[in-house]
Every structure is written in C-alpha cells, then in structure tokens.
Symmetry: D2
C-alpha cells in the first residue's frame, strides 16, 4: 500500500514543481529531495519541508562575517572540524531544518522528550485519525532482552511472532471500529445515525492503541538535530525510532556534508572513555596485561571498554 | 478503590513522618500536604514532592538582596503585584516545585507540550504498566461540540453514554489481557509458560490504549507553573487535564499566597483586549450604542468581547 | 562616517548579487533587503542574513498539511488572526530569522536576556575590538526620571548635555588608547615594541567602557521575535534597544505581513486589563461615574487604566 | 578590604541563625555553608542561597518512586554512576540550586551564555553601581598566547605587569568619578548641585569599564550546573570565570557527593576520543609504533591525544 494518497502525492508534486530565485544559501543536494516523503516503517515517512543555512553558514556565524564567510571549501571543513572537536555548539545552531513526520504514537512519545525543538502535531481533538497503525515485520518481533532491562533480545519463533502480530492487528482494528462507533460513524467514516450525536473526538481518541500513527511538523537547529541523531540512531535506541533517525541521517548528509564528516569522526565513531578506562588504556599501551579483575571496572563496564577498543585489547587481555 | 496500594501509602507515610531542620525558606502550609497523593480522575493523583522558595524568595531575587528580602508582608505583596502586572517573569522563576503525577497517557501527551520543565516518566520499556485505565464519569461523556471544532458539547443521553463506557472498558481490558499474553504472562502477572520467552516490553506496550495511566516526576519553576495553570485550568482546556490543573492550583495557593493573589487579579480574572476591542469600549463609555454590525468585529470576536464585558455591555448593546 | 568599511560593503554587495533557484518558500519583499545593513544609533546596524518560511508556512504547520497549506490569502490571514488571538504559539515557531547586529555592549547585555535564541558573538578574547563607541545625540541625553525609577525624564540643558557627551567621549577614547597600549599596539594598531609581548586580549578588553560596540549573529523563531519586539519596541524599553527593535519591526513587516497585521491588532495595539480594571469598565459602560478613589485601584494603576481607555474614560471620570 | 559591608554580613548572619523543620530532603553539609559568601577574585563572591533535592532525589526520580527511593547508599551510588555513564540527564535535572554571585561584567558576559538557567541581575538602570572593579593579581597578568588565539601565555615581566595594572586602575577610577559627576553626584555619592538634574542611570552606566562588578541571583538544575562546571572549570576557560567555577565545585561536592564522584570519573577525568584516535589506540595496544606522521592526525590533534594518553603513549611513540 502506498504511504500517500493520490491527493497528497499531487500536492507534494505541485510544490516540488515550483522554484523561485533566492539570495539565501541554497543546497542543491537537499533541494533535490525537498518535500519528498521517504518511507519509514509500514505507514510512516519523513519529509524535509524547509531548511536554513549550509556548511558555509556555520563558518560565517563562527566568524561573525560580513560576506559569505567561505574562503576555500577545505578551510571551511577545517574550521567545522575544529568547532565539532571542541564542542562549540553555537555556530551549528545557526542552521535550521524542518521535517514533516508520520510516526506511531509510542515513537512520538519518545521523540517529544527532545525539548529544544518546535512541534505542531495533528490534533485528534479537532480531527479524526486515519485507520493506520504500526505492525512490526516478523523479524523485528523480539523477546525481552535478558541482559538489558530496556531492550530486545532474540527474535521470537515464527509461530509465536505471528500470534503476536495477529493480536496486535486484531486489537488495533477492533479499537478503531469502536472509535468510529462511539463517534457515531460507520466504517466508511460517514455519520451512522442522523438522529444521534457522536462522542467528542477528544474523548473517543483514548480508545486507540499506542501503535496508531500521528504526524507532526518538527523543526530544530543543526546542533540539536545532531544530538537527536546521536541518541536515536544509536543501537541502544528502540528499533522503531532508530528507523526514523536513520532516514533523517540521509538528509543531514545531503544538507551539510562537511558537518556530517566531522560528526562521523568526533561523535558517531568516537568514544567517551572514563578516568579508569584511560588508566587501563595507558597500562595496555605500556604492554601491561590488564584483566577485568585487575582493571577496577565492573564486568559490564569492562565489556563496554573492550567493545570500544576492539580486537586489539581483547587479544591483549586474553 | 483506593488510588494507592498499602505499600505505597506506607512509603508516603514514612516519608511524611520525618522532619529535619533547615536554614532554607520553608512554607508550613505546603509542608502540611507534602508527599500526600491528591486524587484526580478515577486512578490518578498529584503529589507535591519538593519545593524551593516562597513569596519572600521572589522579593529577595527581585532585589538581589543579601538577607531575607522581606521587609513587611504588605510591602512584599505590593512588589509581587507590581512584578506580575508588568510581566517581570525572572523573579518568579526563582521558585521551583516538583510533582509526582499519575495521569492517562492522552493527558500526558498534552501536558508534555510544556517544554520548560523537567520530566522523568515511568518507563514501559523497562517495566510493565499496571492495569489501570481511565473511564470517564457518565456526566462527562459529551458529544462533539457543534460550535467549537476542538471541544465538547452537550452530555450524551444516558444509554448512549453507557454504551460508550462499555466499549471503552471492554477494549481497555482486552488490550491489557493481550498485552500480558504477548509478554508470556498470565492474568496474575506471572510467567505463563516457562519454556517460552515473552515479547519485549517496548513492543508489547503498543497494544495499550491511550487511556492507560502512566506516571512521572515533573518539576518546573513558578513562572512556568503559572503559564501551565493559566492554559490548563482554562475552560478551553480538555476537562481531564483541567482536573489536574485545578488540583495543582490548590498547592500553588498554599505555597505562595501573595503570588496567587496577584495571579488571580492580573491573569485568571483579567482579559486581553484587542485594539478594535479597546476602541469599542471607548465608544461604549462615551455612551455610544455599539452593535456587532458597527463594531468592526466578527460575530465570534464580538461574542467573546461581550462575555468579557458582562451584562453591562450586553445591555448597552441590546 | 559610513557604518561599513568599503571591504565590508563590497562583501555584502557580492552576496546580494547572487541568486539561486529554490523550492522553498520565498518572500520577495524580504529578499529585497537581504544582507543590507540598516543603520541604528551612531555606529550600529541590523542586517537580515537568512530566513525560513513565510505567512503560508504558519498555516501549513497549523494544518500539518502535505502541500502549500495556502488556499486563499484571505483564508490564511483569517487563520493567522485566529492563532494570534488564541495565543497559539507553535505555528509561529515554524518560521525562523537570522540577523547580524552591531550594537553597544550595554544594549547587548539587555538583549541577551532573551534566552530562546541562538547567538554567535564576536570574540574579544580572540580578536581586537574596533575603536567604535556609542555617543548619544544631545536630544537623547536625559535626566533620571523622577517618576520611574528605571527610566529617563526631561532632556538635560544643552550645556550640561554637552559636558556629559564630552566626558563619555574622552573616557572612551582614553580607555581605547590604553587598551591598545596594554596590548603593545600603537594607535594604528601595529606592534609598538617588537621586543615586548602584549597583554592577553581576554584581559585587555576589560578596560573598555560599556558603550563600545560588539556584534553578533542572532537567530530566533517568529514567536520569540514577536515576544522580543513586544517588550523592546515598547516605550518602557530603553531608547537604545528600542532603536534596534524598531528597525527589526520593518523587516518583520516585509517578511510576514499577515502575521504583522494580527500582531498589531492583538498585541501592539491591545491591552491587558486586570480583574479590577474590567469591573471598572463595566461600571463605566453602565454610565456610573468611577473615580480613582472609588475604583479600588492605586493611583498608578488608575493612571495606567485611564491611558489605556483614552479620553473617553478620562472625561467620564472627570 | 572585606568583601561584605557590616550590614550585609549582619543580614547574612541573621538568616543563617534561623532554622525551621522541613519534611523535604535536607543536606547538612550544604546547610553548613548556606548563605555564606565565599570570596572569589578581589571583590567577588559566591553564596549558595537555596537548593532542592539531594543524591537520593535523583534515584527517586529515576525510579519514579513513592517513597524515599533510597535503599542503601551503595545501591544509590551505583545507580547514579549508571545514569552518569549513560548520559541520562533527566534525573539530574530533578535537583536545583540557587546562587548569589558577585562578578565582573566581562565574566558575567561569558556566564550568561548558559541559557538554561534563571537569572535576576542587579539593575544599573534602577540603581547606582558600587565603586568596585576587578584588578588582577600581578601573577595573572599574562601575554597573549602565541599558540592559542584565545588564551594567555607567559606572565608579563613585573614592570610591564605593573604598568598594566596602573592603567586599569586609573581608567576604572576616572570612569567612576565621571559616572558620578554625570549623575550630579559628588564622590561621597551625594547630590552635588541641588539645582541640577543628574543624567539618567541607564545612560551614565555606559561610562563604566567592563571590569566593574555586577551581581545576580542565578539558579539552575544539577544537570546544567555540571555542564557549566565542565566547561568553566576547564583549563581552556578564562582564569577569571574558572575561579568562580572552582568555588562552585566545592558546593557541588557538599551537596551531592555520590553525583560528584560519578562526575569526576565520567566527566572531569574522562576523555572523548575521536574515531581516528581510537584506531591509533588500537594500534598502540597491539604494540605498533605510531607517530604523528603515520597517525592520520594533525599535529595539534596528535598533541591533544598524547596529552590524554600520558607518558605511556609518548614513550611508545618516541
């Protein structure tokens, strides 16, 4: 099933067809996908709706300059790396991006915890929600992790997974039918009984399950976008929100490639090492054999450090 | 049914039983109810967990003073009125309050839109939610408003209301049973089949309906609390969140009575009058007969102005 | 003296000369002045550097729409008025604007109190500040107000004003000479003595007076811009920051004219009337003669109400 | 010269002398110094004015608990370490602290860049600033760094340092005399000429230099306090703001000792290592000889990494 109705698709196409000249900084690679709905999960999407600034705008703000700020592309990239490395956040705040996102309510509840952003959500007090709910792919139907209190472990056996999916689907469908019935609507969404009033939408909505889709306009600056992506594209994040973060990462790359490169070097691929962890690394570099027992770290922290240091350390510790 | 378990009640009593001396500003009227769970809706509550500052702290901050700031209570009240009248927000930000709130998820979704606050929510990725869901009282089961796209109108006829309540209850209960079943739990919450894994909590929770209760610690400063109360204790707010705001209003009164008095005068009982509205008032005071037709206002705005001005204006316009 | 150097002017002209096509919402009236430095005070300026969104973007976000959001311009204006009247702030947060501002340090210190904005300031730890300081026009050299503890009263007599201006100028110039001397610079800004080091800039800067100019990039959303303008274009604001707010008001009008119209009606020209003030208005409309003595208001609040209600009320009360 | 007047000292003593019982979490070690002015620089100070919460409150919020949250002190410390290590910020936001700070204006300008805090500053529009300005100790009068564009290098030779200090003192004193004279005040702060008006304070203040002291009430939550301290107690921060951060660090230790321990381990003593840096560490642990030339790092980044890894790495690389 397509994620957009033909009318929605037409509206988007119409908007994409128009261009006007501007004196502002423009990013062709991002313009290319502007307004397009990139599918996420079974009914969701992410669309870039607007943006302000580019890599050059970061440099321009850092220098408080009168003109473009850009000297050479390579110098700009160098300054951006410097700013990222030294955690200078304000120049990155000078770029802004706006998304239109369609997402399950339980994902929206995690997402909204990022407070430094602007949000306009579709109102279920005012409007009726569509019959669209999230059902995971069978390969994502996993058991509670036995190691991590807030995560998933192994995928469930196929038959158990399908029973889960059936339950999810049946409950979502029944709840929607009753949502409509309470509001005096038939299944086609038309008034069922002309002599009756329907329940207020603000009340009826409470009968929907948390996998129903909502949508919002969400706008943030580049610094806060990176903070969001760092947390939500991480493997500790729930798969469903990670799917959104991964899609947004693509638009981030198109928008500010030099910033993305610095982000990959100093955030995504980097690690934060504790005081004790640093002492261990120093001992290992000297050639000393360090084990969890003599490391001063708990088993869990030790395992995390080994993961950070990779094979080399594991071999040395073995 | 009591809103707290005996264990919860005992924990609260134990905490209430202990006092220690402090040099900080203390408010006996608020201490009196500290930690107590004030019931809201059918299973919810609001508890004041901690607070910082009192009316005197506002004065002290406004004066950047070395000592208590307080001269006479009446002088303090006068300064607080002045600050409120002139929208000086920073002195009010110097007081802070922390609540523990139990509330339906659909209410939590409205509440969280207030971004200038600190929140720790009970995690349904980590823990299993209790079987507690909101069912309105029959007298609150109202039809969609015909005037206001996002509000309630008349109460539904009793039989229709009861059908609604039955549907809400049945769907909430079935969804919970299936929530447990997916996680391989029986109705008592015990592992159902020792040979199976249960679905991860972060996935299972999506089968719950939006009237399930969640809970959080929520902390904000007095300025932002007043902003919250002004919007959420207002008659435009949905009844369910208003019930929370009304309960919090009581703790606000106990905490900073002089600020509450100023809030009542300059916010709750006050009105914002548009440029055109002011011109109309001037004409009316001169004795001119103003009607909606010659007012320059739309019907809706005219109605709102008449409501603000009360009988007097309505009579004069009649 | 021009506020920009020829090099700065050339950089700006070069940037203005380039246009690229974009699919984003574009506002020709704002593009017209993009990057231009609008003079403020004696050496300051305000330049619009970038913007995101237009009146249509507010409507689009409020409707969470797939396409442009705009139906007819008149419908959009109606919705914008509705949003403004009912204090819906989030759709206005969907538009963003970025300024480059040159301003005296004492003005910057007031301005920075608006926290919901992004700022990159010219660093006097890193760079040397130019010899540019603010000297008021003689007609703005006013005495301390005798009524308002934090305001200006009558303009000072011409000879006294000129003595003030002379002192300001002499102290600013001497402090700058010594700032240079400490850093081992001559008056042309060249190293004075090759055999000496100069004092660190981060220390030397503390010898400058608060009327020295600094500059920054400042970015905020439309909601917070309106909040800033409402407070800083107000007659209670200090003249010097008001001069900036007035200039920014012009760019606001060009950018989102429908929003500006709503802002004029519901904010700039509107008034907030207290509970007691409303009761007085009701009595006046009934034809009752209300005086300060029987009003329940202090002299000061009464005077403010009379100012709000204009001649009509004053005559009736007389 | 004492940093407080006898009246100020008496006001503080009076406030310290009073205790009242409270049901709130109380921290005796912090109560001990409550309201006391800890001297910073030559005329500045930091005073803790109020606080909310303790280590237990963090645990309580993380668990959304009904009672104290605390089981054993050691379990609490373990959870706090876990939260710190995994960058869970919201539980730390549940504690709040309020300071009264007296500080030079140029320090205040750096400090105010931390936006997530509440501030009430002494108003120089409303009041007259005292004749108190910062003069560094001769051993802090340093040259511009030749390596770091925004820092200090070697201490200046004694005679040059004393010339600097003389200039700073003379200019600050002259500017203050003229500040008074413009406001029609004599040196004792009395009206000089009864027949004249004085210049408005909001204008006169611009004649003061940036080393004049101001003061404010500043309130923030523990998460943002740690962010502030991490940046401002760092050796990259300017010495003068670091002096304040160091003093605040002492109150942080007294207030929430378990949090401080976790902060020392995972923030103060920890390091952030880039992707390339991690690869280098892996090579070094394997015993490979890595030099700046074959490291893939710039000289500057290499030097920073060597500093992080300490002698061990330097020796191996040599």
């Amino acid at each position: 099933m397509p994620i957009l109705s033909p009318e929605q698709q037409a509206e988007i196409e119409q908007q994409r067809a128009q261009t006007t000249p501007t004196r502002r900084a423009t990013v062709p690679a991002l313009e290319e996908i502007l307004y397009e709905a990139k599918p996420v999960l079974d009914h969701g999407f992410v669309r870039v709706i607007d943006y302000m600034g580019d890599d050059g705008a970061i440099v321009q703000a850092a220098r408080v300059s009168y003109g473009k700020g850009t000297k050479k592309v390579s110098e700009d990239a160098g300054l951006i790396k410097y700013l990222m490395r030294h955690w200078h956040s304000t120049p990155f705040e000078m770029c802004e991006i706006k998304y239109h996102v369609k997402l399950p309510i339980f994902v929206a509840r995690q997402w909204i915890r990022h407070r430094t952003a602007n949000v306009n959500e579709y109102s279920a007090r005012y409007s009726i929600l569509d019959k669209e709910f999230y059902i995971p792919q069978p390969e994502h139907v996993a058991a509670q992790s036995t190691e991590n209190h807030q995560g998933r472990g192994a995928v469930l056996p196929s038959d158990q997974a399908h029973r889960v999916l059936d339950l999810l689907r049946e409950d979502a469908e029944r709840c929607y039918r009753n949502y409509q019935q309470m509001m005096n609507l038939d299944e086609a969404g038309q008034v069922a009984d002309e002599d009756q009033s329907g329940l207020a939408r603000e009340l009826a909505r409470m009968n929907l399950t948390l996998n129903y889709y909502t949508q919002w306009y969400w706008k943030t600056d580049l610094h806060n976008l990176m903070h969001f992506l760092r947390l939500r594209a991480d493997h500790h994040a729930q798969f469903e929100i990670r799917a959104y973060a991964d899609t947004m990462m693509e638009s981030f790359k198109r928008w500010v490639p030099a910033t993305y490169a610095a982000f990959a070097e100093y955030r995504l691929g980097a690690a934060h090492v504790s005081a004790t962890g640093l002492a261990i690394i120093r001992r290992m570099i000297k050639g000393e054999k360090v084990t969890q027992e003599n490391s001063g770290l708990s088993k869990r922290e030790w395992a995390e450090l080994m993961e950070t240091l990779g094979d080399a350390a594991a071999r040395q510790a073995a």
